[in-house]
């Protein structure tokens, strides 16, 4: 940034003299000068803060996209392979949530009665039905890091499941005179934040109603504790505590973002049962809350198709994962999605234009129009293994052309391996599914229109006109939603018709953002209470906290750069035909963006990422070394498999957890091999059996022929050396 010391008229000539009393005019000039420098300084800090925020957000959303693409890939395998094929068998269970569908079977399945609480147990004991005292005791116990016995966990969950089933899809709530309702956004397993809210605002009760707007779990360490507390209060005050489903209340999402791991770590014996039951509970969570018929509260947002009357009638529990419609072939989704997109983008200049806008909006990318969009950024480009299915891909293309809402059912049916559902039901199912996915995954955007949310990979972006229309159609005045981290914990947009509330403070890093909750009386005017859970950051000045978050953002970015090092080097080499080992900064920036596709302002970031340049040139091999990320020391002959490993760390962990059907935390060699085969077909790369065997040999920690997933993932964790400097 250029704030060099240029020539300037010397405004303060007189100041050299030390004066006993400050003449007014001189004092004013001096004050002005300090003020201007100070504002300049604050502006530069704000620039840095924005940049940091972009880094975190880009990396976060790229992860969500990866997850959805992986899931779509499994959906594709499910839909296009014979029931007997091995790939299909490996993953089929993730789509078969309803195996045990009769409630009586379920009752038996999660029966807690056979589980004894041993005498040695020192944690809290619960009695049912739950009381206010009982839940308060539980809060205290969790505050002191105690763990609740699996028997009680299952008992609370069982009770919750029974209660949720009689709740409607949309909670209608009214605020009495002299009463206020409290609305909280994403908590993401950050128990400290929930405690802080309770401390400042009081525990839920009939005098103190609460709405919790989804994303209770994942990312933080105490997702289960949060759920148990919220469910506890729900059981005691079913009319005063309202829970909306978020996009993370989804067992498929939990595989990647830590909740599955948390449960299995805390409950080695009964974790599997708890997970199964939670899967069921999540599908029964209500989808929306409406206050006094005027304020709509949903986790993500709306789309131009949102219709509360349709949502009110949906069988919500059918959508065990909101990522996929129930029992529909993938062509159908793609076909209609493409259609919808084309139709909606009529005035926005087609889908390409729409996508460009979306990108520039979220990523503030410098030249969005010129950016490449390789397949990995697009949801609509299904990652399909060419070795498995090139002919299917052709078939798919042909069908997409034919497809649309009027797609012939016969044809759809033929390709649909789960063809046990009624064809007529499919279209309704899909429409219903879209209604739900839009509520859970969408984000508002500043410009008019409604376009697919390609940055996240699910839901849509809705403009102020959509807000206006949907609110008016339902005679509502305000939409409250969560789903996006905001620096102040809340933010208005769409002419104050849309309010985002986010309750997980320090979400990206200590000091990155405040959390907030809303209090609203019968006048329906929202009041905000902001907080920050960590004690350390309160003393940090603006500059220090920006410095702190910035370092951690850069760390995350360096890791991302590091895992792509081989791709980066080959991209750099293209700009270096003579093999000098040097490329210009401009080429460095464009090659980096081409590979990472994070839409970041590399030009601005280069001063923080590139330590040394010679005449404006970067020594790129040296630069990669200087990222100072160390790999674990493993003796693996095939370097390319390590590369794939780092790049697809989260994808691989997700596949492991899917394949580990019995949630034992370990998988056999054969399953390990299958995981890699799945990954390689997802990535369309070839990974040899020898390489896999070699890898398996080197990390078989317990030498019994099975592999512990946690240990395996841990062995491949990158370490940033600069973190401690």
């Amino acid at each position: 940034m250029g704030c060099g010391m240029g020539k300037s008229e010397l405004q303060l000539k007189k100041c050299d003299r030390v004066s006993i009393s400050v003449p007014a005019a001189t004092a004013i000039r001096a004050a002005l000068l300090i003020q201007r420098w100070y504002r300049q300084y604050v502006a530069r800090l704000e620039m840095r803060r924005r940049c940091t925020w972009n880094i975190f957000q880009s990396i976060e959303y790229a992860g969500e996209q990866d997850q959805i693409k992986l899931y779509n890939f499994f959906g594709f395998l499910m839909d296009h392979f014979t029931p007997a094929s091995s790939e299909r068998n490996l993953i089929s269970h993730i789509f078969r949530e309803n195996e045990i569908c009769r409630d009586t079977d379920w009752e038996r399945y999660f029966c807690y009665k056979s589980i004894e609480v041993p005498e040695s147990y020192t944690g809290p004991h619960l009695t049912f039905p739950m009381t206010f005292c009982g839940v308060s005791k539980l809060v205290e116990a969790f505050k002191h890091k105690q763990q609740l016995h699996a028997r009680y966990v299952l008992q609370i969950l069982g009770e919750t499941w029974r209660l949720l089933r009689i709740l409607p899809n949309i909670n209608y709530v009214s605020i009495c005179h002299n009463q206020e309702i409290t609305i909280c956004g994403d908590l993401h397993g950050q128990f400290e934040d929930l405690l802080l809210i309770f401390y400042k605002n009081g525990l839920p009760s009939s005098e103190k109603p609460y709405v919790f707007n989804g994303d209770f779990v994942d990312r933080g360490k105490n997702s289960l504790e949060i759920l148990l507390i919220l469910f506890g209060f729900l059981l005691v005050y079913p009319n005063d505590v309202h829970l909306n489903r978020g996009n993370h209340e989804d067992h498929i999402v939990n595989l990647r973002y830590g909740f599955t791991k948390e449960i299995l770590g805390k409950y080695r014996v009964h974790g599997k049962k708890i997970l199964k039951l939670l899967q069921k509970i999540f599908s029964w969570l209500p989808l929306a809350t409406v206050i006094d018929n005027k304020v709509l509260i949903v986790h993500g947002g709306i789309s131009d198709m949102t219709d509360l009357n349709v949502i009110a009638r949906v069988d919500r529990h059918k959508y065990v994962s909101a990522l996929r419609p129930t029992k529909i072939s993938h062509q159908a989704i793609n076909g209609s999605k493409t259609q919808t997109m084309n139709r909606k983008n009529g005035e926005a200049g087609g889908p390409a234009e729409g996508r460009r806008r979306v990108y520039s909006l979220t990523h503030h990318s410098p030249v969005p129009a010129q950016r490449h969009h390789p397949p990995r950024r697009s949801l609509h480009n299904l990652p399909i293994s060419n070795q498995l299915s090139w002919s299917l891909e052709d078939e798919l293309k042909r069908r997409r052309r034919l497809a649309g809402f009027d797609q012939s059912y016969g044809e759809m049916n033929k390709s649909d391996s789960d063809s046990d559902s009624e064809p007529e039901g499919k279209e309704t199912d899909e429409r219903e599914w879209k209604q739900i996915v839009d509520l859970l995954w969408s984000d508002p955007m500043p410009q008019n229109g409604c376009i697919p949310n390609e940055v996240r990979g699910g839901g849509c972006y809705f403009g102020p006109d959509v807000t206006e229309e949907v609110l008016e159609r339902h005679n509502l005045q305000l939409l409250i939603r969560s789903h996006e981290c905001k620096q102040d914990g809340y933010e208005f947009c769409h002419n104050r018709k849309v309010l985002t509330i986010f309750s997980a403070s320090n979400y990206y890093e200590v000091g990155s953002n405040r959390g907030a909750y809303i209090r609203m009386g019968c006048d329906l005017v929202p009041h905000f209470i902001q907080y920050q859970a960590s004690r350390t950051c309160r003393e940090l000045t603006l500059r220090q906290s920006i410095g702190w978050t910035e370092r951690s953002a850069l760390r995350a970015l360096r890791e991302t750069l590091f895992v792509h090092k081989s791709d980066l080097i080959s991209a750099f080499k293209e700009f270096d035909p003579n093999n000098t080992g040097m490329i210009s900064l401009r080429h460095w920036a464009s090659a980096t963006e081409n590979i990472l596709n994070l839409g970041l302002p590399w030009r601005v970031l280069r001063s923080q990422l590139v330590n040394s340049t010679k005449y404006g040139m970067v020594d790129y091999q040296q630069w990669i070394r200087e990222l100072s990320i160390t790999e674990p020391k493993l003796e693996i002959s095939d370097a390319s498999i390590l590369d794939t490993m780092y790049k697809n760390h989260s994808n691989l962990e997700t596949i492991f957890r899917i394949i580990d059907t019995d949630h034992s935390g370990s998988i056999s060699f054969e399953e390990f091999r299958q995981t890699w085969k799945l990954l390689s077909s997802h990535l369309k790369t070839e990974i040899s059996d020898e390489a896999i065997a070699d890898l398996a040999q080197s990390i078989d920690f317990n030498k019994d022929g099975s592999i512990d997933i946690n240990e395996f993932m841990e062995a491949f964790r990158l370490v940033d050396l600069s973190a401690h400097t």
């Binding site: 940034m1 250029g2 704030c3 060099g4 010391m5 240029g6 300037s8 010397l10 405004q11 303060l12 100041c15 050299d16 030390v18 004066s19 006993i20 400050v22 001189t26 004092a27 004013i28 000039r29 001096a30 004050a31 002005l32 000068l33 300090i34 003020q35 201007r36 420098w37 100070y38 504002r39 300049q40 300084y41 604050v42 502006a43 530069r44 800090l45 704000e46 620039m47 840095r48 924005r50 806008r357 520039s360 909006l361 503030h364 990318s365 410098p366 969005p368 500043p446 410009q447 000045t541 603006l542 500059r543 302002p601 030009r603 601005v604 001063s607 923080q608 340049t613 005449y615 404006g616």
Partner: protein, 162 residues
């Protein structure tokens, strides 16, 4: 930034455009607009030192019908002109030190928070309460609570990008 002297005027121009666009990008709401309240931050971050009056004049020049939004099409040429003509040149950092010395009438080497607050909120282009609080939190000595301005000068003037 490495800039050789033999660069053509055209090159400088495109360099300036790039810098402006990069700063603008960071604050934009939709493809090519930013909130009018961000203009000051953008100008400052580009190394300009406009007064509040300068800022208002500049905004009046680029804002469309008091919409509250500034479009890149109008911002870019106006800002380019500002940068190329050095309209609001940086104030040398020596002057910043001198300014503090002026306010430190007893030459103590530091300012009491009350002193600084008085000058910053009552003179010149007064700080808001929020700005003042933030400045004091950031710059007062943790033990003595006074402001050793010598240290501040280096903090205020260091380019955080490097």
């Amino acid at each position: 930034m490495v800039e050789s002297n033999n660069q053509s005027a055209e090159n400088t121009m495109s360099e300036v455009h790039k810098r402006i666009k990069a700063a603008f990008e960071r604050f934009k709401l939709s493809p090519n607009t930013v909130d009018v309240r961000e203009i000051g931050t953008i100008m400052y971050s580009l190394g300009c030192f406009p007064s509040q009056a300068d800022l208002h004049d500049f905004i009046a020049e680029v804002e469309e019908d008091h919409s509250g939004f500034i479009h890149l099409d109008r911002f870019l040429p106006a800002m380019t002109k500002v940068l190329l003509e050095h309209k609001f040149p940086p104030i040398p950092k020596e002057h910043l030190f001198q300014a503090f010395e002026v306010l430190d009438k007893d030459s103590k080497g530091y300012l009491e928070p009350e002193e600084l607050t008085k000058y910053m909120t009552q003179e010149g282009e007064p700080f808001s309460q929020e700005e003042m609080d933030e400045m004091l939190t950031a710059f007062s000595d943790q033990e003595t609570n006074v402001i050793y301005y010598k240290d501040i000068v280096s903090q205020l003037t260091i380019d955080p990008g490097n």
